[in-house]
Symmetry: C2
Subunit: 223 residues, 2 copies
Amino acid sequence: MHRLYHLPLSPACRKVRLALAEKKIEVELIEERPWERRLDFLRLNPAGRVPVLITDKGQTLAGANAITEFLEETVPEPPLLPKDPFQRAETRRLVDWFDDKFNREVTENLLYERVTKRLARQGYPDGACLKAGSQNIRVHLDYVTYLLEGHNWLAGPKMTLADIAAAAHLSCLDYLGDVPWEEYPAVRDYYAVMKSRPFFRSLLADHLPGFPRPPAHYADLDF
Amino acid sequence: MHRLYHLPLSPACRKVRLALAEKKIEVELIEERPWERRLDFLRLNPAGRVPVLITDKGQTLAGANAITEFLEETVPEPPLLPKDPFQRAETRRLVDWFDDKFNREVTENLLYERVTKRLARQGYPDGACLKAGSQNIRVHLDYVTYLLEGHNWLAGPKMTLADIAAAAHLSCLDYLGDVPWEEYPAVRDYYAVMKSRPFFRSLLADHLPGFPRPPAHYADLDF
């Protein structure tokens, strides 16, 4: 069986877990706290970051982008990228949107400040970051609303890696109660469909010891 | 002809220019200063960032990763990714190493502080960032030296996108005189081979008005 070194509330790790589950690939999860800089883990990934996937053939793959592209190339069904090269580029643009832009403007300001800093004992949340994250998420949810006007999924008529990347970030922030769903009904409905897919369930069962439980709607499929 | 909205000293844009040149695809370069937030440019890429490629068919592609993967899919020769999925994952891991880790730890500390801030009138360079960048680049050059021990190119026996990503960052920093080549002879020799390839020349002819000229060795193929 594949093994995945991961952190429960890491969007990069959740993206890989969702892609694995959608492709019906079983995986053993191993929690890794990268800030402890465990030597055996640094040997697997000198970048010192999760996710790292060890395949059942013993190959080591590091980084969410390398892993998801590998999965797409080796387990084509169901496809998580469209066939047409231009549509693939549009999907990858949106994946980068979440993993880079959304990550810097929203996720790092909220999740890093409130969760990682505490777990890694790196100090207290910075109020200015929390405020910026809370403002920025609204700009991004406006953009998601706009994207959903033309079709059911972010990059077109079918679910793709772009939706998986978006759901990975939104699910982490939702755990913290940081997504103002009531202001964005179209995004809420879209995310509810995503959440109701079978492959989403294992994520929603995660619990972070020492932190408040997620809001009641977090694992509720009809929120 | 394709058109590329770019900035001369942006590693992301240089990566795309190098990939285009290696695949012998002609392109018209259009300089875009993203911080001016020009409305027509934001319509092309709502993320407001370069590079953006407009193909000769009028398709708009945004982001270095989406563009380079598109080029690889539509113009397969010469290949910039290996054939084997595991080797492709290793190549993409190294591309991410430069575009994410090296970028955050080195390029942003040196290039953003010294060039972008001045061009965009966002203030003066932060000494702590410059110091961190100058320390961090040595750790990265150690790692590049280690990677080159086993083979001629970063990801194996052939040149790949990983080398192009590395060269894109190194060439920008070299323009500023920020690469301590004399301490890293193996990396210098490797970069000299890269620089001597025909597709590298147009990059080295770039000149940034208002900034000191690059060091004498910058465009010298036998440095």
